[in-house]
């Protein structure tokens, strides 16, 4: 039995586009969290940054060849949890089976982060 993460499975261009967008949103969340820590170094602000970074890494690991666009995301004062919400909404644009293995764990992680860190 072939699994999406191995063998010949290649995510569609649309799945890659969505994953890239999610990675960019999570990248922005890491930068926004770092900005929050400038004014308030707390368990919440540091945990936000860690979780955003770990989720970003998991998303990039799902991209074919772990490629990420050559752009630099910047912080503009957005709430990192709002960015998690945006990322979670994006993940619903395609059926789960069109994403590589690891996507369902990422979605659950986003939902938990939204619930726990809001």
């Amino acid at each position: 039995m072939t699994h999406p993460s191995v063998g010949t499975f290649t995510p569609s261009a649309e799945a890659v586009r969505i994953l890239t967008r999610i990675a960019m949103l999570l990248d922005q969340a890491t930068r926004e969290a770092a900005d929050l820590r400038r004014t308030e170094l707390s368990l919440r602000t540091s945990d936000l940054g860690l979780e955003a970074m770990l989720m970003w890494a998991e998303t990039v690991a799902m991209l074919p060849g772990q490629t990420y666009p050559e752009v630099e995301v910047v912080a503009v004062g957005k709430d990192p949890v709002a960015l998690f919400r945006q990322a979670e909404r994006l993940s619903a644009e395609l059926p789960i089976e069109q994403f590589p293995r690891g996507m369902s764990q990422l979605i659950v992680r986003l939902i938990v982060a939204i619930r726990d860190l809001a």
Binding site: L25, D35, L43, L54, V74, V76
Partner: protein
């Protein structure tokens, strides 16, 4: 797993069932749609029994609360399953190359739901409560949400498999097209039906799910695993992403430590005055030191490079979960009383000291990566901004390198164009980075020294657990430290000679 040997709780069975279905979603196109449809019938049957076994005001004990049971929904699914079974049974079991055995995974899933139903029946029978307690009601709601979510996902997986069969085999002679089409429509409708319930309850209802008592050694085990993974990653793949992950996790762990040490002091397990005047400032200083490093490596990590190694990410994820389980009450930091109820603080204090020794070790390993700084690839623009900043303030007390200027947005994400490839860490920054590493080592060592010197007061009478005599703390701690030393020796052996 035989029924006799299966010690999983209802909650564990449901969680595993849900995870099993998530994996099934990926594999659905590779499986026989008819076989899965037959399995789906079994799953719905098992879920129906479990659903009926859950206590409600319409159940065996009518005095149990005023909560509504959406039994009609489950009955509808059961009726749909009966219709599907009638329609496909002949097609799936008939002779010919399209016959399909019942899908194994779905049979397993049905077995787990049956087992959960049996457990619920057993424990319901023993209940003598006149009214369902609030926490039980919340747990039942969470169980329903999980069951319906599992059915929703299962129905979707089966629909995908049937659709795939129709596309790939639909025009072949003797393919039972009508039966498959009918099953696809009915199961698709069931998916929608389950979806209406899921939309209202998932994941909100999971908030009330019963939590098993914490695994005694989870935190210590996660700490040891993290220690090994971080040392290995720093030795074998010291990329900017690795340094970002290690410093970030240490910053967060130190934050958790602050909370736990404070609770240990408040509950009288260490001297409150010594904690307040010596340990608390040292911990705060250590967290700031890790934070400064995190900021630097967060900015310098080129996002176009590979993320940190998977083993390191997994260890960080587990350590984060294990510490949050201890220090948080769902969304907020837990009160001292709750933490004391969750864990034996007498045993926890040595674990906290172990955590600080881990921090010292990692601070040294982190500082030692300076030997390979020049080979580390970094993002060019933040590196350039840091060079300018370095001239004005050392070592970056309140840095912000990401400029507010933005060239464009993409999908709402603000971006600066970045066409330059990543570059080696500029030589001019190396001394500053070394100073940051040195400062972290000093802060960690000072905190560790303070914590070692602080006077413990042992167990307070009120908090002495009833089974203290059967589980002496020193043995547990000694065993934990021995495991940690073994893990460290293994890590060092794997790392090879020091650089």
């Amino acid at each position: 797993m035989s029924a006799q040997a299966d010690r999983r709780s209802v909650g564990e069975l449901l969680l595993e069932a849900e995870q099993q279905v998530r994996d099934l979603l990926h594999e659905a196109p590779e499986r026989s749609g008819l076989g899965m449809a037959r399995g789906w019938v079994e799953v719905i049957g098992a879920a129906h029994e479990l659903w009926r076994a859950l206590p409600t005001d319409e159940g065996a004990d009518p005095t149990w609360g005023d909560r509504q049971r959406p039994a009609d929904l489950m009955d509808q699914l059961q009726q749909s399953a009966a219709s599907v079974q009638k329609r496909i049974e002949r097609a799936a079991t008939g002779a010919g190359r399209f016959s399909a055995p019942v899908d194994d995974t779905l049979v397993d899933l049905a077995g787990q739901l049956f087992r959960a139903g049996d457990l619920v029946q057993t424990y319901r029978g023993r209940s003598t409560s006149a009214r369902m307690p609030q926490d039980v009601a919340a747990d039942v709601d969470a169980a329903r949400a999980r069951i319906m979510h599992a059915l929703y996902l299962t129905s979707h997986a089966v629909t995908v498999a049937l659709t795939d069969d129709l596309h790939s085999l639909g025009r072949e002679p003797n393919f039972p097209r009508n039966a498959v089409l009918d099953a696809q429509r009915r199961i698709g409708s069931s998916e929608q039906l389950a979806g209406t319930y899921v939309q209202k309850t998932y994941p909100v209802a999971l908030d009330g799910e019963h939590r098993e008592p914490l695994q005694r050694d989870r935190f210590a085990d996660a700490l040891s695993a993290w220690d090994v993974a971080a040392h290995r990653a720093l030795a074998n793949s010291p990329s900017a992403a690795t340094l970002w992950t290690v410093t970030s996790q240490e910053m967060v762990t130190t934050g958790h430590m602050q909370l736990l040490w404070r609770i240990a002091a408040e509950r009288g397990h260490i001297h409150q005055n010594q904690y307040r005047t010596r340990l608390a400032p040292a911990l705060e200083n250590l967290q700031r030191a890790w934070d400064r490093n995190t900021r630097v490596w967060e900015a310098l990590t080129p996002r176009t490079g590979a993320p940190a190694p998977q083993e390191l990410r997994a260890a960080a994820t587990e350590l984060r979960a294990a510490t949050r389980e201890l220090t948080h009450d769902r969304t907020a930091p837990a009160h001292g009383q709750l933490v004391a109820a969750r864990t034996d603080l007498v045993v926890l204090v040595p674990t906290l000291q172990h955590s600080l020794s881990t921090s010292v070790e990692l601070a040294h390993a982190f500082r030692d990566t300076r030997a390979v700084f020049k080979a580390i690839q970094v993002a060019p623009k933040p590196a350039m901004a840091m060079q300018n900043e370095r001239l004005q303030s050392m070592p970056f007390p309140n840095m912000r390198w990401a400029s507010q200027e933005q060239a464009r947005t993409e999908g709402g994400v603000p971006l600066r164009a970045l066409n330059q490839p990543s570059t080696p860490l500029p030589t001019v920054l190396v001394p500053t980075m070394r100073r940051l590493g040195d400062a972290t080592v000093r802060a960690a060592a000072r905190t560790m020294g303070t914590a070692t010197g602080i006077e413990g007061k042992g167990r307070t009478r009120a908090e002495a657990p009833q089974q203290a005599s059967s589980e002496p703390a020193p043995t547990t701690t000694t065993a934990r430290m021995a495991r940690w030393r073994t893990a460290m020796a293994t890590a060092r052996a794997l790392e090879g000679p020091a650089r």
